[in-house]
Structure formats: C-alpha cells, structure tokens
Symmetry: C2
Subunit: 88 residues, 2 copies
C-alpha cells in the first residue's frame, strides 16, 4: 500500500469539509526499546517550521502520538487558513 493510498482512505471523512489540510506524520522505527525518543523535540521544531510560513491558529493544530515496542509515530494535523493568508 502506498502512502497516497493511506491518505485516500482518510479522505472520505474529510471530503465534505472542503478545507485545506496539511498532515505531517513522523515515524521512528527503533532497533530496540532502549533507544531514546526524540519525537517530542522533533515535533516542536516541525511546528516552528510550519508557523514560520503559515498563519495558523493554535486550535487548528491537533497532535497525536502513538507508541509500541518498535514504532513511535507522531501525527500532526493542521487545518490551513484561507488562501489569502501567508504561505510558503
């Protein structure tokens, strides 16, 4: 399954909203559970990158973190402002 397929699955629930979205997913696959987690720091810096370019309100950002023995995944969903706002 390609990454694009993954987003096609999630598209169904959001299609009716007709809002632009930016979704950032970060996965760290560790060789052992003793390795340090650096997703929290990465999350902070990713949001700084986004905010430098897009005037996005705090409540337009949702963050979800999942973890098991091997994977840590960070999911950031952003509802983008209307096109007249500052962009890349």
């Amino acid at each position: 399954m390609s990454l694009l397929d993954y987003f096609k699955i999630s598209e169904v629930s959001s299609a009716s909203l007709a809002r632009e979205r930016l979704q950032i997913l970060v996965a760290h696959e560790r060789s052992s559970r003793n390795q340090p987690s650096y997703l929290p720091q990465l999350q902070k810096e990713l949001l700084e990158v986004i905010r430098r370019h897009i005037n996005v309100e705090q409540d337009a950002i949702s963050v979800h973190f999942e973890q098991n023995d091997i994977h840590e995944t960070l999911e950031v969903n952003i509802i983008l402002p209307e096109p007249q706002s500052k962009r890349f």
Copy 2:
C-alpha cells in the same frame, strides 16, 4: 486504519534489517488544484531540521513525491546512524 497500522504494514519488509529508521510523511490536501504547492520548500526545511540533530549521510535519505488532483504527498525515509552518533 490508524497511522500506526500503516507503519506495521511496512514493517514486514524492513524487520530483517534491524536498522533504525526515521520516516517523515507530509500530505497537503488541497481544496482545488489551483492552490500553490509548498511541499518542495517544506521538504528543504524539514531536512535542515533533521540534519541539525542527526549526522546522516546524503545516501541514507530517500525522498518520494506523489501527486493527484487533491493530494500531494511527500515521503522522506532516513536510515539512522548507529546510536553513538549525534542525536536529539
């Protein structure tokens, strides 16, 4: 299907390698195809964030870009160096 499930699917092919990986996926869901694409600029800045924290060789990074009418997706796969290298 959760994001973690997506990574579990891809885990099968990479489990035997026992290498640590960092995967970054960015999806821009546009309300129309006339909206500008800013994933190329975002890709550049994301890689700068990673390189500030991890000593990763250029050939350890692979980038894949997919596009259809609604979605643009950027996938960055990074084979992480051994644990003694600089980290977050």
